[in-house]
Amino acid sequence: MSQIILNVNGAVQPLELEPDMPLLYALRNHLNLNGAKYGCGFGQCGACTVIVDDQPVFACLTPCAGLDGKKIRTVESLGSAEKPGPLQAAFIEKQAAQCGYCIAGMLMRAQALLERNRHPDETTIREHMAGNLCRCGTHLRIIEAIKQVAGQNGSLT
């Protein structure tokens, strides 16, 4: 065990963790955040996607040691069920979920794109999202939801 300081969704959290612990387990079990999901543990499906500084990363592969000073954001940072952020609201409006297990990861990967490129075209969205898997086949609605926000101006949070 060692003390690791994580900056998650704007809050600085000193935690007693095993340094090889992937970020995913720190978020879920030590900070009680549900958004990042375990899917494969190999960085192949994207269910665990979170944003570190401004990059989408696989939380299942990222050890907690080495995240000192970095700003970690999970889907919880975008808004809540009662007050969803713009991208969350678009996912709700388009009903862009079936089982929804992959959705928090989809949101974070899409958020990272929109923060870098406020108006991506559909081809860019498809290529950017290819790192995340959906098994229900909700892809078309996920793209529609992202396109809706890409077509707007204004804040992303």
């Binding site: 899917g39 290819a130 898997l133 229900c136 086949g137």
Partner: protein, 744 residues
């Protein structure tokens, strides 16, 4: 109503032996549809055969609807698998109780609270539970109104209801909660329910936003994976490398000494670790995997020979449809062998469960499709009375059939008994899900069909399959129970009877035929455990039928869509075909190199939803890569409950079936399964997505609910196959299409 073989369905169902007859009534004017369901084969008992939907098995009204001072509670024995069924059922109940949807608390499957509706499977949820609620809710509302009428001494016809309150002609008002005190809801439903004009529907046929989505986009506790109980421990299992391996040596002490480990469980070939923290459990699991020594286990067949092997393994032959006399006329013939590989359900979230043995009773939170059958299996495995086991459905990742859910629940149950008083959460790893989930069976089918003077003739079809329904009918169907020192043995495999069908689902074409010779060879000695996956055998059977129709049409110089219409007498079947034909502008064919267009149709199980699909695609001339440009579909699922929910299901089915059909197969060799991760089992990604999908909904107001979730799997596979044949000028009949090296 008669089927294409001139037999009425009731007679057919009897002829197939042992099938239950299902009376189905949505509206007061009874229209009967017959079905032997996946549900009926699995532990429910028909108490009232004349009642509609699942009222047949759960006839008491208070099993479905309870009204008290604290509000209205509606119960369903079905579960939310990500299809939106919870919201749709709520819409039906609220419509018929004439209350706002927000005033109802809807509870899904829980063995302590809800009706036993068997499994949530087979596109049956709206058909079974929706129909039950449609009727039960209206009957309860009528009883409430009658109670108020008696109390006010007025004619019940003069009363109306609004927002859960009954209103009388002189301004009288009585809440449902007050009125319910004057009636006894614990009584059998009646066969007939109050009529409602479909034009008056305010919820049915309208798209209510799904109840579950806001939590899922915002990190709410939406899944069993998200449960945190006080003092909860984390477990991981250690599975053998292959089926049949025997644990020969294992240094328990070395694992017990690891940080955070609370317990190491070893029982025969069953191995697990329980730790305080999840990461500690994972590290202990990895160490345990390294020190466990196993014998070689069962031989794994050669992947390249699997279809030949399926035809040689011991099997039982079931006649499926043998009608009419073959004409023996020469005409045009098409003979072919069609194959499919093992497929995975491929849930994005590996299976998970939480269990807690406390005060002599075990509670299991599980994403199973059937809480009651699972409870019976777990109780038998643990030698507990079923009354001391409670299974509560809690959502998991989409399953699309029988995945690892039940087995993970059995793991949690076994482990909870070893740490009494403390809740334990077990989460399978990706490689465990991929290696140990029951697969969708590899299959071989052989077709020999003819066309003479524009008429389809002499349809012969033989198929070989392993089981598609290894659901939990005893403890031995639970994987962990087979690994124990005193192992349980799986119950013998039994196929689901026609007209629902198993590997033979949709093996009988809906087209008018002069004669059929259709048989299933049911292989029970199987190299891999196989069970239900969305649409069962319909995926390959419809692919094979529709390929044959196209080939016969092309050989005879007839338009394939016109040939289909010539042989479809059901007007609803014709309607979906015609809608797709017109919407895509059939027979439009692009002159671009590698472009193709394909068409397909099926009515799911020949008794449920109708679906026609056309696909336009391009096949890259050098690398064979397939780009799907446009998919147009038309569906008829009877009375639509939620248009947007239906559209979402159909879009998803099209994408998922495209993935199965183009890309997917389980890879294995003598060493075992090689598809232990997503690189070994690639599925469709965003870049391979169809460019455009248009879904046309053909609503049938007032007609029975027919179910939606599985109806597009076969037609999409078949339309893709026909489009690829059209694009390449060659017929490809070995799935998956992009990994197939030989044209037929």
């Amino acid at each position: 109503m008669s089927d294409s073989n001139g037999l009425n369905p009731s007679r057919r169902a009897f002829l197939r032996g042992g099938a239950l007859l299902m009376a189905f009534t949505l509206m007061p004017v009874a229209r009967r549809v017959l079905a032997d369901t996946e549900v009926d084969t699995l532990g429910t008992v028909v108490l009232a055969p004349d009642l509609p939907g699942s009222l047949r098995t759960n006839p008491y009204l208070d099993a479905w609807i309870r009204i008290g001072a604290d509000g209205i509670t509606v119960y369903t024995g079905k579960v939310e698998l990500g299809t939106g069924v919870k919201t749709a059922l709520l819409q039906i109940a609220a419509e018929r109780l004439q209350v706002p949807a927000t005033s109802i608390d809807l509870l899904t499957a829980d063995t302590a609270l809800t009706p036993n509706e068997g499994y949530t499977a087979g596109s049956h949820s709206i058909f079974d539970s929706g129909t039950a609620l449609y009727n039960a809710a209206a009957q309860v509302r009528e009883m409430l109104v009658d109670a108020a009428a008696r109390s006010w001494h007025v004619d019940g016809a003069l009363l109306s209801t609004r927002n859960g309150t009954i209103e009388g002609p002189a301004g009288q008002r009585m809440s449902y909660a007050e009125a319910v005190k004057h009636i006894d809801v614990h009584q059998y439903a009646k066969a007939q329910s109050p009529a409602m004009d479909t034009a008056d529907f305010k919820l049915i046929g309208h798209s209510l936003p799904r109840l579950d989505i806001p939590a899922k986009v915002s990190g709410g506790a939406a899944f069993v994976q998200d449960m945190r109980l006080p003092g909860m421990l984390h477990a991981r299992v250690i599975r053998p490398p292959r089926p049949g391996c025997v644990l020969q040596a294992f240094d328990e002490a070395s694992i017990e000494a690891l940080a955070g480990v609370v317990k190491v469980i070893r029982d025969g070939n069953y191995l697990a670790v329980v730790a305080r923290d999840e990461w500690q459990a994972i590290k202990a699991m990895r160490s345990a995997s390294e020190v466990a020594q196993w014998s070689d286990g069962e031989a794994i067949p050669d992947e390249a020979q699997i279809h030949g092997l399926l035809k040689r393994l011991p099997s039982r032959r079931y006649p499926i449809s043998n009608n009419g006399t073959p004409s023996g006329e020469a005409g045009t013939r098409f003979q072919a062998r069609v194959t499919k590989q093992y497929l995975m359900h491929g849930s994005i979230g590996p299976s998970c469960a939480v269990a807690w043995f406390k005060d002599g009773a075990l509670t299991v939170w599980t994403h199973t499709q059937g809480v009651y059958p699972l409870r019976a299996g777990i109780a038998e495995m643990l030698r507990l009375p079923p009354a001391r086991v409670r299974c509560i459905h809690t959502e998991g990742s989409g399953c699309y059939g029988h995945n690892g859910a039940d087995d993970a629940a059995a793991d949690a149950a076994l482990l909870a008994m070893r740490v009494p008083g403390t809740p334990v959460r077990v989460q399978w790893m990706r490689e465990q899900e991929n290696l140990w989930e029951p697969y969708s069976s590899a299959m071989v089918t052989e077709v020999d069909a003819g066309l003479t003077q524009g008429r389809l003739q002499d349809w012969a079809y033989e198929l070989w399959t392993t089981p598609h329904n290894e659901r939990i009918v005893n403890a031995g169907r639970l994987l962990p129970a087979r690994l124990l020192a005193q192992p349980y043995t799986s119950a013998p495999s039994v196929p689901i009877a026609q007209p629902e069908g198993d590997g033979d689902r949709n093996a009988v074409p809906l087209y008018d035929l002069n004669s059929t010779r259709i048989n299933m060879n049911f292989v029970t000695e199987m190299p891999f455990r196989t069970s239900a996956m969305r649409s069962l055998g319909a995926h390959i059977n419809i692919f094979a039928i529709e390929a044959s129709i196209d080939e016969l049409a092309i050989k005879a110089g007839i338009d394939p869509v016109a040939l289909r219409l010539t042989h479809l007498s059901d007007p609803r079947a014709r309607a979906v075909v015609e809608r797709v034909r017109d919407a895509i502008g059939w027979p439009q064919k692009s002159s671009e190199p590698g472009a193709g267009i394909g068409f397909a149709f099926a009515r799911y199980k020949n008794i449920m939803g109708y679906c026609a699909i056309a696909v336009k695609l391009r096949v890259h001339p050098q690398n064979g890569e397939i780009r799907i440009d446009h998919v147009v579909t038309a569906v008829d699922v009877g009375q639509i409950v939620s248009p947007d929910g239906l559209r979402n299901q159909i879009e998803g089915a099209i994408v998922q079936s495209a993935s199965w059909t183009l890309y997917e197969k389980v890879a294995y060799d003598a060493g075992g399964i090689r598809s232990y991760d997503w690189s070994g089992y690639p599925i469709l990604r965003f870049t391979q997505l169809p460019k455009q999908v248009d879904v046309h909904l053909l609503d049938q107001p007032g007609q029975p609910f027919l179910g939606a979730a599985e109806i597009a799997q076969g037609p999409m596979a078949a339309a893709l196959g026909n489009a690829v044949a059209n694009a390449t000028g060659r017929r490809w009949l070995n799935l998956p299409l992009t990994r197939s090296t030989q044209p037929a």
